[in-house]
């Protein structure tokens, strides 16, 4: 639809991207490759009216789409100076011919990544421990930058960690984010992100009235799951946990409250950890296991660094993990260089 269109700011749409934007926020959106007048390439995310018009209630879908888009732009504007978050270079509205009529299409242009981290992680763990720890350091930093601005990601997963040549990794796709004091259209959903990575309490429909526990605590879980995925070579915590849980206690089967099912979920989490533990890199095993356990504790009130526990003001702060990833990455580098 947009291919060949010349956009404001000298950007030209080159081709349709292979996939949507590799994100949950990519629902009702289309991705394109774009190039600026100076030859810089970018990724364009445009609203997909065609999809919205085919939905059962087009008017509602269009309204939702526009609200979601505006909210994402608001969040991205707020993160403009966050260097570990993929932010929008520009945004605008193009006019395209839809059935003989010129219709406005809103878009966002992002810096173009070389890919997401999955390609480095899944095929038999090709990455070094030092690289993995550096990525974790960068992701945790990106997440903290969001949290410092009152924003939570809610959909952190391997496909949303993008890599950039000479820069490293950044956290991408704020299409499902929450922003303190604002109500995005997806705010009413029990959980906004990908269920494959979601914290268990959200799968069971538990809505903690405390913003920090519900939102920031959820992000901590996603970060811990990412650590598990990275260093186990593909084992996210949520599916591992559910595999260890008897079927009748799964979300979707369990009709009680989360507090009642929590002891069973905790037991399944423990079993998942004992499956993940032996495949973690041996030298880093104790530290990584503790970090995953702390970040992914099935009880959101117990998440966070053990040294911050008991202090509600700092419980979900990521500083200590950022420092730990940094230290571990440095150590791993030294070990790798040793003859």
């Amino acid at each position: 639809m947009l291919v060949g269109v010349q956009l404001d700011g000298g950007w030209r749409v080159l081709s349709r991207a292979q996939r949507p934007s590799a994100s949950t926020g990519g629902n009702f959106s289309v991705g394109y490759l774009v190039e600026s007048s100076t030859g810089e390439r970018g990724f364009l995310k445009a609203l997909d009216f065609a999809d919205a018009l085919q939905s059962p209630d087009p008017a509602a879908a269009l309204q939702l789409l526009t609200e979601a888009f505006n909210f994402e732009r608001l969040v991205l504007d707020r993160c403009d100076d966050a260097d570990r978050v993929v932010t929008a270079k520009t945004s605008g509205t193009a006019r395209v011919n839809v059935a003989g009529r010129l219709e406005p299409v809103q878009y966002l242009i992002f810096e173009l990544a070389s890919g997401d981290v999955r390609s480095q992680v899944v095929p038999a763990k090709q990455h070094s421990a030092a690289w993995g720890l550096r990525v974790m350091h960068q992701v945790a930093t990106g997440l903290r930058q969001l949290h410092d601005r009152g924003i939570v990601h809610q959909d952190l997963k391997p496909s949303n960690v993008l890599t950039f040549p000479n820069i490293g990794s950044k956290v991408a796709d704020l299409g499902r984010a929450a922003y303190k004091g604002h109500s995005p259209p997806h705010d009413s959903l029990a959980f906004a992100g990908d269920p494959g990575y979601a914290p268990p309490e959200l799968l069971y429909g538990y809505v903690d009235p405390d913003w920090n526990r519900r939102r920031v605590g959820g992000d901590l879980y996603l970060l811990g799951s990412l650590v598990a995925f990275f260093f186990s070579g593909g084992g996210a915590v949520t599916p591992m946990l559910l595999l260890a849980l008897p079927q009748s206690l799964h979300p979707g089967h369990w009709a009680g409250d989360y507090t009642s099912v929590l002891p069973y979920v905790r037991n399944a989490f423990n079993q998942a950890m004992s499956t993940i533990e032996p495949v973690l890199p041996q030298r880093l095993r104790p530290e990584l296991l503790r970090i995953i356990r702390e970040l992914c504790d099935p009880d959101p009130t117990r998440r966070g660094h053990h040294r911050n526990r008991g202090n509600p003001a700092t419980q979900y702060f990521l500083e200590r993990y950022i420092a730990e990833f940094d230290l571990l990455a440095r150590r791993a580098n030294i070990v790798a260089r040793a003859p």
């Binding site: 996939r19 949950t24 949520t238 009709a255 929590l262 069973y264 495949v279």
Partner: protein, 507 residues
């Protein structure tokens, strides 16, 4: 002489199986029908499935597996799992694990009957299991389910003190969890502390809203000889009928039992019938017990098909004089609730009295003694089985180790008779005869006719075997007493003794 527990009273004390088995039997489901399970959106799964079909990359396949497992649509991701497994060594072990789990889902055979899944006792008893659980707890000391499993592993080895300590930790971590509370109640009853079992249930804020816990509270209160606190609430739950028949099966059974034992109301019959509309195995066993004592409460053979209804089946087979089947069901029951002495008692008793299979009786008694090393009834039955195998020295050693003065009157009588049996076999006929006379006198005072008949039958057997001139008198007396007893094993033993009498030619 062999002895079994009297069958007069049975209560619906919760079974204590391992966590996975309990969950599979459906006993951990939420009882609140007003709540519905959250439905997990599947749009992300659909998108990933399309992405995998379009791209066919490893990354897309792994992403799809994770989401498929979580949204419960693993079978639709089996192509991706096949593809991943075909890559062989290029995959991390954890991805192979996920792919196999997804394929396992596709290839899932019809579920094995739960009866086949009873853990072998040896495995449960292994010291390694305690070590393995402790190691897991090191990683998460707040895991109440694991503390409960540890407690069970200890009690299977007959180690009550560490079992109680482990259960205390479980209760501290999850004081209102149904699984933990019911297991704790069962443990405290097992270690002869029904008051603590009752305190634990009565003090939990979860009990008043949970029919499973109210059922346990009523049953345990009866053992502790206390007034149950939640009968009225339980009755309201039953009348409202909103919790579902399965969730209230043991509740109906517990209230029915209490009323039946008190004899104050006529509604127990209705309650027992209500208890088997969608019963648990424990409710089936309770109904089978009630049907042995209450005329007109007939057991439908269909409900015996409930998974793990070993206890109920054992009793029904016993009524039909199918003694080998009784022993088989007792063995399965012992595997299912391996710390309980009751299946070992019944199994060893039937093996001696009805089957005359003393090796089997010894095996039952020894297995029961692992978790109940001081149980004098099991020690008595072990001694009888040893004597009958010619292992007099060993039998004497076991008998000497029993603190008879602390035993219940019927067990004291049985032990005296067993001492008589040993004397007979060692050639001290007069001594044996006197010991049996003591035992018979004790049992007569106690009024327990079944045990009295068994004692007479054992004495007659010994008189016949030693070709004594008292043999025919002893047999006649045994026949006379047996006639007044309805217990089927007594009549089977009487038949055996009669046949023995015909086979052994007097001097």
């Amino acid at each position: 002489m062999a002895l079994n527990l009297p069958d007069q009273v049975r209560r619906v004390i919760p079974r204590w199986r391992d966590f996975r088995a309990t969950a599979r039997l459906g006993e951990l489901r939420s009882p609140d029908p007003s709540k519905k399970a959250v439905s997990i959106p599947t749009d992300e799964f659909v998108r990933k499935l399309a992405e995998w079909r379009q791209d066919g990359t490893i990354e897309a396949a792994v992403d799809l597996l994770s989401t498929a497992i979580v949204v419960g649509r693993s079978s639709e991701a089996s192509d991706a799992a096949d593809h991943l497994l075909s890559l062989g060594h290029n995959l991390a072990p954890i991805t192979v694990h996920l792919a196999r789990e997804v394929i396992g889902c596709r290839e899932e055979q019809p579920e094995l009957p739960l009866d086949m899944e009873v853990l072998p006792l040896e495995e449960e008893l292994a010291r390694d299991r305690i070590r393995a659980i402790r190691q897991l707890l090191g990683g998460d000391p707040r895991n109440a389910v694991l503390w409960t499993e540890l407690s069970r592993a200890y009690i299977l080895r007959g180690q009550a003190t560490p079992a109680i300590k482990a259960m205390d930790r479980a209760l501290a971590s999850a004081p209102h969890n149904r699984y933990v509370l019911r297991c704790a109640a069962r443990l405290f009853v097992h270690v002869d502390d029904p008051e603590r079992a009752h305190d634990t249930l009565a003090s939990s804020q979860a009990t008043k809203a949970d029919p499973w816990l109210i059922a346990a509270e009523i049953a345990v209160a009866s053992i502790a000889e206390r007034a149950p606190q939640f009968v009225r609430t339980g009755r309201s739950m039953l009348s409202a009928g909103v919790h579902g028949n399965f969730n209230t099966s043991e509740l109906a059974s517990a209230i029915g039992t209490a009323e039946f034992l008190q004899g104050t109301s006529r509604s127990w019959r209705k309650l027992f019938r209500q208890s088997i509309l969608a019963p648990t195995e424990n409710a089936v066993a309770q109904f089978a017990w009630a049907s042995r004592h209450a005329p007109g409460l007939d057991i439908d053979p269909e409900i015996l098909r409930m998974p793990r209804s070993y206890e109920a089946r054992a009793w029904v087979h016993s009524g039909n004089l199918e003694w080998t089947a009784v022993a088989e069901q007792c063995a399965a029951w012992l595997n299912d609730e391996a710390f309980s002495g009751r299946p070992a008692m019944m199994g060893s008793y039937v093996s001696i009295v009805a089957l005359e299979n003393y090796e089997l009786a010894e095996a039952f008694a020894r297995r029961g003694l692992r978790a109940n090393p001081d149980d004098d009834l099991l020690l008595n039955n072990l001694t009888v089985s040893l004597v009958n195998q010619g292992k007099q020295e060993e039998a004497e050693q076991v008998l000497r180790g029993i603190h008879q003065s602390e035993s219940a009157p019927d067990v004291q009588a049985a032990l005296r008779a067993t001492a008589g049996l040993l004397m007979f076999r060692k050639g001290d006929i007069a001594g044996g005869r006197a010991a049996y006379a003591d035992a018979i006198e004790m049992l007569r005072r106690d009024g327990e006719m079944r045990s009295l008949a068994i004692a007479y039958l054992h004495l007659a057997r010994e008189e016949i075997l030693c070709r004594s001139s008292h043999a025919s008198t002893a047999l006649a007396k045994a026949e006379e007493v047996s006639r007044s007893v309805r217990s089927p094993e007594v009549h089977t033993m009487l038949e055996h003794v009669r046949m023995l009498s015909q086979a052994v030619v007097p001097p």
